[in-house]
Amino acid sequence: MATNVQQVAVSKPGASSGSQGNASEYVVRVPNDPLKKYSMIKFASGTDIDFLKLSHGKVKMERENNLRQYKTIYNLDAMPKFGAGSEYGREQKEEARRKKYGINIKKYNPNDQPWLMKVGDGKDCKRYKGVREGTISENTSYYIFTKCADGAFEAFPIEEWYNFQPVVKYKYLNSEEAEEEFSRRDKTMNLFSIMVRKRIKNEEETEEKPEDKKDKKKDKKSLILTDMEDWMETEDEEEEEEEAEEGAEKKPKKEKKEEKTKRRKNAKINADDEAVEESDEGDFDDRELDYISDSGSESSLDEKAKNDKYDDQGVDQEKGLKKLIDSEEESSEEENKEEDEEDEEEEAEKEAQSKKEKKKKKDSKENNKEGGESDSSSSSSDSDDSDIDKNEDKFSSVLFMQEKKRSSRPNTPTVEKLEIKTEPKSEGGIKRKIEAEEGGAEKKVRTESPAPSLKTSASSSSISSSGEITEEAIRHYLTRRPMTAKELVQKFKAKKSQMSNEQLTQKIGQLLKKINPGRKYIKGVMYLSLEKTE
């Protein structure tokens, strides 16, 4: 019923009706456009944004799409709808079930989702997120009065209010951390370091998680009973972190390492054949704490037996744990030989097999020595241990040493069967010789290195363990197997850490001149060796 609409004087600032000031009258219109919907953006206080000042004037807005989150919350899409794992009629069943229990899921309304606004271009754009504000009161409504070109006012109702906040992509401290830092605020000079520290912590945590699993595994196996073992583990953790990415396969390797490092602590480790060593005072101390190991505290040991003690494998190789670790060790052995040569794998398998047949080890200790001799003779041609620089190689060589020893042992259930044992050993030795001559890789040599190590003649052990750089010692080393000068130096370094590098090298050089060992060039590296004189 459009009745007379009164026209009104428009926009002319009419003559003032009062003495106060100018009065002007405007028409107010409330257009009724059903298609246009007005909403209010409220920016958080302090947010500096002005659409006027935007030089390039690029603003984009869009609703956030939370459909995926909505579905995961209500488990709507959890099960596959067809194909494997799907049920016939599952959806209908779910719906019927919901109706039966009266469970009402709120429908996902895309128009209720927050707005995402992006101001600016490319790199230096600012993002905002606008969340709807509830409680538009029932008793009031807000209108926007705008002035039109013809001087009239137009009023539009506002239907929704949104609170826009800038989206934060940088990392910030949560409340606990903030409180900590606050308490330290007088002391911190460098605020940058706070976040750096936090980032490092995060990285450690993510690495710890895979570690935790490994630790658990280790715990199951090695039953930490001593501080020593604990100490070992913490050391190992560092190594583990480096390898964390490499996956589960590395677990057994680490255990090996653990045991290698154990050996190191026990035996003032030489990365080489030097398992036999006269015991210094502190060397046997931890033995008594190894509850799992078979080695007990035997004070009345003759020298040989003591050396044999040192020949022992690490805790995890002894009976108690060996079985558990067996399979892994096989695989880990193969892994150590990263330069994959099939020969090496064969060896590993052989050793593993022989390991499996192991029985009493003490009985076979004696056999070790003799068997070792035959081995060393056969393996004199072994060479290539160029990678002494790598710790890994050292450790794995030590490991292989033990394995070798063990492998020799199992073959002799009793003492008498010495010959039987040496035979397979020599066979193995010959094979290995051949393989070595074929241009074995570094690690292959390491597998050989245990063999010479079995040569536990007291004299040699005493020489080397005394730590003196004597001609005898050098001879002893070189007869065992060819080494590079570097290796020699390293050997003595381990024993005599007091001397500086230069002094060591000098002394060794002098002695070498005396001995005048033969020189062999293998793989481009010069090796020194002495022929065995038996």
């Binding site: 459009a2 009745t3 007379n4 609409v5 009164q6 106060q20 000031g21 002007s24 009258e25 405007y26 107010v28 219109r29 409330v30 257009p31 009724n32 298609l35 246009k36 919907k37 007005y38 909403s39 209010m40 953006i41 409220k42 920016f43 206080s45 947010t47 659409f51 006027l52 004037g57 690029k58 603003v59 984009k60 807005m61 869009e62 609703r63 799409n65 459909l67 995926r68 579905k71 067809f82 194909g83 494997a84 794992g85 799907s86 049920e87 016939y88 009629g89 996902y108 895309p110 009031t140 409504s141 807000y142 209108y143 926007i144 009065f145 705008t146 006012f153 009023a155 539009f156 506002i158």
Partner: protein
Amino acid sequence: MSQPPEEESARPLRDVDLRAAERGVWLVKVPKYLSEKWKRASGKGEVGKLKIISTKIPGAQPEVTFSMNEAQAQVQVPGRGTATPKEHKFKLTGVGNQNLVVFSENKGEGTTAAEITERIAIEGKVIQRAECQPVVDKSYMQLKKRHVEDSNKPKREIKQITGVVTTYKPVSNHAANIEHEKKIKEGGKRIRDERDVVTNKLFEIFEKHQYYNIQDLVRLTNQPVVSRYGLFNR
């Protein structure tokens, strides 16, 4: 829902029309009864006049009065009386340090497009806030009195009914049931097909889903249950 199958990915951002971004607008709080009347504005939508008197006293806010049209004032709002005050004052306040911007969504005309195209435009920035307050007069008092009475009424009432209430009388057998039984009788028992045929059918069925209920399978293959089991066991 008239919307197409729901998409889960983030939608691309739409450009915002910034043409009117410089406009300064007023944000006015309007009482409910007034806004309701305004919504029913007819014709061009004129509802009244705004009179702004700018005082010469520096620092004072100008007086703004809104007077409603005669016609507008007569607009009937269902459920309420027409007695509304005609004169209102605008009480002006500043915006403070709030940053308020108005934007509008313009729903597209046609819904033939796959997506509902909405044009988003910035309509302006709020420079002034105001409250529309009625000048208190008799009609306003009456209005308020009515409001209070309405809100104090209980939401539920007791009414007396005049018509007849439907009751359900017990029936020996419902119509639906009868039909169902008839259907079964006519449909006949499920015949056993050849074993090969049935197994082929089963394979086809299982290509769609992995797990099935026995009853569903029975329905789908039209086999009696016993023979189904037999097939499975073999």
